[in-house]
């Protein structure tokens, strides 16, 4: 064996090393993305327009849509029922926004209720319900959140200012595969007379990840 052979890259690469917290892609990753994208366009597999259309679709989603969905579910029991059964179809029908058709993975809505609080993570990468919340925050993709929330969820939630009573079950959802999780928070007391717009305004992104609670 030729021990003097050099591959031109690190030999100590560990495939199980934790992902970097760096929110920016490494220069070599960015160069790889550009090269593959240009090749796919050059060979006619996709068009530049396809790429920009998909970016537009992703940019069109933000936590505002998720908040509208939550407020509607609080106001309308029939919508809530449909949302729990077939979330993408229910949202598409109620809000006239494209959800079905395979552009987005299946959505699983998990509802908070008295005695149960849900929180979402993806320990393996950074799966996120982009169809409803848009681009994930940097902390959601950080190794600190992903590794700690599965083993000390109450400690992590407390750091977000969310302290839950001991008799409330904390249920962590690790979206390891083909489902994306979305938390339907409980409607807070004191909002009984509020309209849907006012309700949507208190539903923050973090409420739908499960790290926060809506506050009137």
């Amino acid at each position: 064996m030729d021990h003097d052979h050099h591959h031109g890259h690190d030999h100590d690469h560990d495939p199980h090393a934790p992902a970097s917290d760096d929110p920016l892609p490494a220069p070599e990753d960015a160069a790889l993305e550009t090269a593959i994208r240009e090749l796919l366009i050059e060979k006619g597999v996709i068009t530049a327009e396809d790429v920009h259309r998909q970016i537009d679709v992703l940019d069109s989603r933000s936590p505002a849509l998720g908040a509208q969905v939550v407020a509607r579910a609080w106001m309308d029991p029939a919508f809530r029922g449909a949302l729990m059964e077939e979330p993408l179809a229910a949202i598409e029908a109620a809000f006239d926004v494209a959800m079905t058709g395979g552009a987005f993975p299946a959505l699983q809505v998990v509802a908070n209720e008295p005695g149960l609080h849900n929180v979402v993570v993806c320990t393996l990468c950074s799966c996120y319900p982009r169809v409803l919340l848009g681009v994930p925050p940097a902390w959601y993709k950080a190794a600190a959140y992903r590794s700690r929330v599965v083993r000390d969820p109450r400690g992590v939630l407390a750091e977000f200012g969310t302290v839950l009573p001991a008799d409330t079950e904390v249920r962590v959802h690790d979206s390891t595969a083909d489902l994306r999780y979305f938390v339907l928070p409980s409607r807070p007391p004191g909002t009984e007379e509020w309209n849907e717009t006012a309700l949507a305004a208190i539903v923050t992104r973090d409420c739908m990840i499960g790290t926060a609670l809506p506050r009137p």
Partner: protein, 97 residues
């Protein structure tokens, strides 16, 4: 298409199994006992899709619930605290009651 072999409520144990490429079964769940919460459909196998293969046979996917105290001996939260992960059927062994 493979039908679901495991019913909700079934006791299961995650296989300790060797890692496979692009595996979607986290290491911290290997060998752990849980309960099937729900069948989550049949999906093409991501460990094959990642390598531009057709991802067949498609695999049944389950939402499996674990007790936090079964996952982490030092777990300091409430006894009922739980964790749900999506696990493919070929990573699950039924546990005899």
């Amino acid at each position: 298409m493979a039908p679901a072999r495991l019913a909700p409520g079934a006791a299961v144990r995650v296989r300790p199994g060797p890692p496979e490429p692009h595996c979607r079964t986290p290491f911290y769940l290997r060998g752990k006992a849980g309960v099937v919460e729900a069948f989550a459909g049949v999906h093409r196998d991501p460990s094959l899709l990642a390598y531009c293969r057709p991802g067949l046979p498609a695999r049944a996917l389950y939402r499996v619930r674990f007790r936090q105290r079964d996952l982490w001996p030092e777990y300091a939260g409430a006894a009922d605290d739980s964790l749900v992960a999506d696990i493919y059927e070929h990573w699950l062994d039924p546990v005899e009651g």
